[in-house]
């Protein structure tokens, strides 16, 4: 656990850089986290982040790829274009949620 300065606010992150307290998250923090991933947030990115946020409120879990497709209406190809390398892991981090455990 470490404290870190992001976009003018001080946030707690774990050893993998995921926020440990989502109340410290805001849009400026999201943009700063995105920059660390080499991503500049567009409306398309925000659509993904907003879906993760509303779905987390409902399911208390970061949605997987299939849920983003079927329920969120975001094609997998687009997810890889928007968040290259590891869409769910990266989107979850930028959205201020824990790293998805991708089940058990």
């Amino acid at each position: 656990m470490a404290t870190k300065e992001l976009a003018g606010s001080s946030v707690e992150v774990n050893e993998e850089g995921y926020l440990t307290d989502r109340t410290q998250w805001n849009e400026a923090v999201a943009a700063a986290l995105a920059t660390e991933e080499g991503i500049e947030l567009s409306d398309e990115h925000w659509k993904v982040l907003k879906f993760i946020e509303s779905d987390f409120a409902e399911k208390q879990a970061v949605p997987g790829m299939r849920r983003l497709n079927k329920v969120g209406g975001i094609p997998t190809k687009d997810l890889y274009r928007l968040f290259p390398g590891g869409p769910i892991k990266k989107a979850a981090r930028i959205a201020g949620f824990p790293k998805p455990a991708s089940c058990v």
Binding site: G64, K70, V71, T76, Y80, G85, G86
Partner: protein
């Protein structure tokens, strides 16, 4: 007479039919429905391709394991109608119920992956999660002369999340015995960032894969199968060529759940993780692989759930508060080849860690360590399954509540809850 209806006579449904037959009041009539007459020992599929088990070892008549008190109906099921408290069978007949238990499990859905059911399917690419798949793979392994053997997990969650790893370990052992290991590249492709879903076990198992010279392609989310080029392609355009593809396709709940509009995006039923009640309706309970619970899809889990569910349904029948709580307990032996195995024991909160099981300092089983006894435990499980587990008898010394005794819990792995 009041009616208890059980859908599915697999591991979970069969255990529930047995425990409820012993414990439910005489005013309850019990019916169980399943579409096929054969009960398969699913953990045995893994061993078929390596000649450890034969086809005979893994199948027995379903009826043999069902109690005489329960009426067995062999039929497909068209739909569950929660609002009307009834189930429509494939032939159109309707069965009413006061309490419904859904134990319809999960199935592989190779059609969900672009190209997986193409011209290589059943020839160069196989699964080992079905009896037919395991049979074909057995023949393919017998004919194997070397080349690239690629194991792929399409997406999580899957039934028995350690089985693909065990396949890799057993293939390493089997091919070594046959003098073909040096002619074979074993490649393990997974959408996870390591060998397993939980960090401590993942680190230990990753190390073992490395030791055995098994190549790991992690974070590999399969997008499609190129049947002409014999390769799998990830969404981020990595290509892995294969001579033999051992696929663990997407796992989904039964189609019945989709027809009944009761499932999530994978047809798993939203279930209360403590009481095992369906979130949609209070007189519907869900058990085994059919649930959406964040624990493993495995026979041991179905067994532990059944102990909780039996108590809860008895309470519900009497109109009392349901007091038992399921903690997500899972207990799995992992075959690691060369006559050795691992044992994992964990729940919703506590990830698998090293230690002794079930008795602290004594064992006799070693948690997260490779021992010969763990391997024997795995083989003995077949006997336990047919003779004790399906009957719904508790496994000696192993409670449905996971025990923290004997577990060496590093600070980081200790559950915060």
């Amino acid at each position: 007479m009041k009616k208890l209806l059980i859908l599915g006579a697999g591991t979970a449904g069969t255990i529930m039919a047995n425990t409820m037959s012993r414990k439910a009041g005489k005013d309850w009539e019990i019916t169980i429905v399943d579409q096929s007459e054969v009960h398969y020992y699913q953990p045995g599929y893994l061993f078929m391709p390596f000649g450890v088990y034969t086809e005979k070892d893994v199948q027995k008549p379903r009826k043999k394991f069902l109690p005489s008190r329960a009426t067995y109906r062999q039929s497909g099921i068209e739909q569950i109608c929660p609002e009307d408290n009834k189930v429509i069978l494939a032939g159109g007949e309707e069965l009413g119920y006061d309490i419904l238990i859904v134990g319809t499990g999960c199935r592989i859905a190779p059609e969900e992956i672009d190209g997986l059911t193409g011209s290589d399917w059943g020839k160069r690419s196989h699964d080992f999660y079905t009896f037919e798949g395991a049979r074909k793979l057995t023949a393919a392994m017998k004919d194997w002369q070397g080349g690239r053997l690629v194991i792929n997990i399409a997406e999580m969650p899957i039934k028995c999340p350690v089985a693909p790893l065990e396949f890799a370990f057993l293939a390493d052992w089997y091919l070594t015995q046959r003098g073909l290991r040096e002619k074979t590249e074993i490649v393990y492709t997974t959408p996870l960032s390591g060998a397993f879903t939980k960090p401590v076990a993942s680190a230990i198992l990753n190390h073992l894969l490395e030791e055995k010279g098994i190549i790991v392609e992690q974070d590999f989310a399969i997008g499609s199968v190129d049947n002409e080029g014999h390769k799998i392609v990830s969404w981020d355009e990595r290509e892995v060529p294969y001579d033999l593809l051992v696929s663990v396709p997407t796992n989904m709940g039964d189609r019945l759940i989709e027809r009944s509009n009761m499932g999530d995006e994978l047809n798993f039923i939203p279930t209360n993780r403590d009481t095992l009640q369906a979130k949609a309706k209070e007189n519907i309970f869900v058990i085994g692989d059919a649930t959406d619970l964040p624990t493993s899809k495995a026979g041991s889990v179905a067994h532990f759930e059944a102990e909780v569910l039996t108590e809860n349904i008895l309470s519900y029948m009497k109109g009392e508060e349901m007091e038992e709580r399921f903690d997500g307990h899972a207990n799995c032996f992992i075959e690691s080849g060369f006559g050795k195995g691992f044992l994992l024991d964990f729940n919703y909160e506590q990830e698998p860690v090293p230690g002794h099981f079930p008795f602290p300092h004594v064992g006799p089983f070693g948690l997260l360590s490779q021992t010969r006894l763990n391997h024997l435990g795995k083989l003995a499980f077949k006997y336990v399954y047919w003779h004790m587990l399906l009957k719904g008898y508790p496994i000696p010394f192993v409670d449905h509540r996971m025990s923290y005794l004997g577990k060496k819990i590093p600070n980081k792995a200790k559950a915060s809850a």
